[in-house]
């Protein structure tokens, strides 16, 4: 089985000389279809860097990032942007919705940018909103919704068009504990349905929704907990 996301000996260094900071050092990491992996660590441990590299928003200093087998560096700027629109869904702590667009327009946007006709984009967007349980809010604007509802919209936008990799950066950070749990249930069920998910969080209670929890310290993976899939074991013994 190929990993949906794979990082091979990835190093990311910011700055140079005296101000050089190694955010990640030779990190190996994989997320398989149907799996939710949590990445935990204090601020500065490199967990957000890992996510931005996985999403092609940043490029590693050395090492390879593959999404569904494709080396992101080989894709070039344009190719990576296309990949972000079609294969990868991003969920942020502060939702990042466009305030001037309604819920359904926000969700349809990546499909439209990818060249889907506006009718088919809208249809996909409604299906995604349905999946996250807020089809009835399709015509509302973000500022007319609660934080939990806005995050559901953001998740709908991250899964629209059958994307197979969901990257979530502290998606529950701004929500109360029960609403946060609903959001995790949604991400979890999307992974149970076959997507690969990576959840970056500093909250243990949220990381516990994952199949595996990877601990990062100073840019290095120090430990891992959770059920080991056979592939993970194989990878370790290599």
């Amino acid at each position: 089985m190929t990993a949906v996301l794979r990082l091979e000996r990835v190093t990311r260094v910011h700055g140079s000389g005296a101000t050089e900071v190694t955010a990640l050092h030779e990190v190996g990491f994989a997320a398989y279809a149907g799996e939710l992996v949590a990445v935990m660590g204090p601020s500065g441990s490199g967990k957000s860097t890992l996510l931005t590299l996985a999403g092609g928003l940043d490029t590693p200093t050395s090492g390879v990032v593959r999404v569904e087998g494709t080396d992101l560096a080989a894709l070039g700027q344009k190719g990576r942007a296309a990949m972000r629109r079609t294969s990868v869904g991003y969920v942020f702590q502060d939702f990042n919705l466009i305030p001037a667009l309604t819920a359904v327009e926000n969700v349809a946007l990546p499909r439209e940018l990818d060249g889907a006709g506006s009718r088919s984009a809208r249809k996909d967007a409604l299906a995604a909103l349905e999946e996250v349980g807020i089809a009835d809010l399709a015509r509302r604007f973000p500022d007319e919704m609660s934080g939990g509802q806005q995050q559901r919209i953001a998740i709908a936008r991250a899964i629209v068009g059958e994307r197979r990799l969901i990257l979530a950066d502290e998606p529950t950070g701004a929500l109360d504990s029960e609403t946060g749990e609903d959001i995790l249930r949604l991400i979890r069920s999307r992974c149970d349905a076959g997507a690969a998910g990576v959840l970056v969080t500093h909250e243990a209670r949220h990381a516990a929704w994952a199949d595996r929890v990877v601990f990062l310290r100073d840019g290095v993976v120090v430990d891992e907990s959770g059920a080991d899939g056979a592939d993970v074991l194989l990878e370790r013994s290599r």
Partner: protein
């Protein structure tokens, strides 16, 4: 004390016999704290001695049935209307272990912390898996869900405390590296000098 009060509270719903009480207790708490039936009957006879329940003879199958008395009802009401007392903290093996790990030379404290964090995280993942199944809203399932949440929050608190310990140890290690050791001007105690800590190591 909590078993005694829990049994009284269950008896408020109507007369019950020992096995029924045990089953209902475990149903509501998901078997997190198993009761043996001997314990249930011992507790019932103490409650009877204290006038909080009374025997109502045996049912058709020979089970001894108990009912709550007026004094028993008052006791239940008092239990629900008062907070659980915070007694002296129970001995906490993990806190004791870390306290010794930081103060005994040669222990890799970082490793002790990470080992525990991984183990506690695995437990937290197990509880969360159980939670994913328990989503009903009927009172019994809700009761079990709340017990699970209690286990979840306790495990989470332990991990947060471990994170905090790690951060403090790192800061202390950095401060020790930056500040030169104090001048041994005024009568240094020989033992103190000897045990100048070299024990905090990083996990890398």
């Amino acid at each position: 004390m909590s078993v005694r009060n829990a049994l009284l509270a269950l008896l408020e719903q109507g007369p019950r016999y020992g096995y029924q009480l045990r089953a209902e207790f475990e149903d509501r708490t998901g078997g997190t704290w198993p009761l043996n039936v001997g314990q249930v009957y011992t507790t019932l006879s103490r409650l009877e001695r204290d006038g909080l329940v009374e025997g109502r003879g045996t049912d058709g199958d020979g089970h001894v049935v108990y009912a709550v008395t007026t004094a028993g009802r008052d006791e239940v009401a008092a239990w629900f209307s008062s907070p659980v007392a915070r007694t002296q903290p129970p001995r906490e093996e993990l806190a004791i272990k870390l306290a010794l790990a930081v103060s005994v030379p040669g222990v890799e404290v970082g490793t002790v912390i990470q080992q525990q964090r991984t183990a506690t995280m695995a437990a937290l993942q197990d509880y969360t898996r159980l939670k994913r199944r328990a989503t009903g809203s009927d009172p019994h399932e809700l009761a079990w869900g709340l017990v699970l949440d209690s286990l979840v929050f306790t495990a989470e608190a332990e991990i947060r405390w471990l994170d905090h310990c790690e951060a403090r140890l790192r800061r202390a290690a950095v401060e020790r590296a930056v500040e030169p050791p104090p001048e041994p001007s005024s009568e240094p105690s020989p033992e103190l000098v000897e045990t100048t800590p070299t024990d905090v190591r990083r996990t890398r």
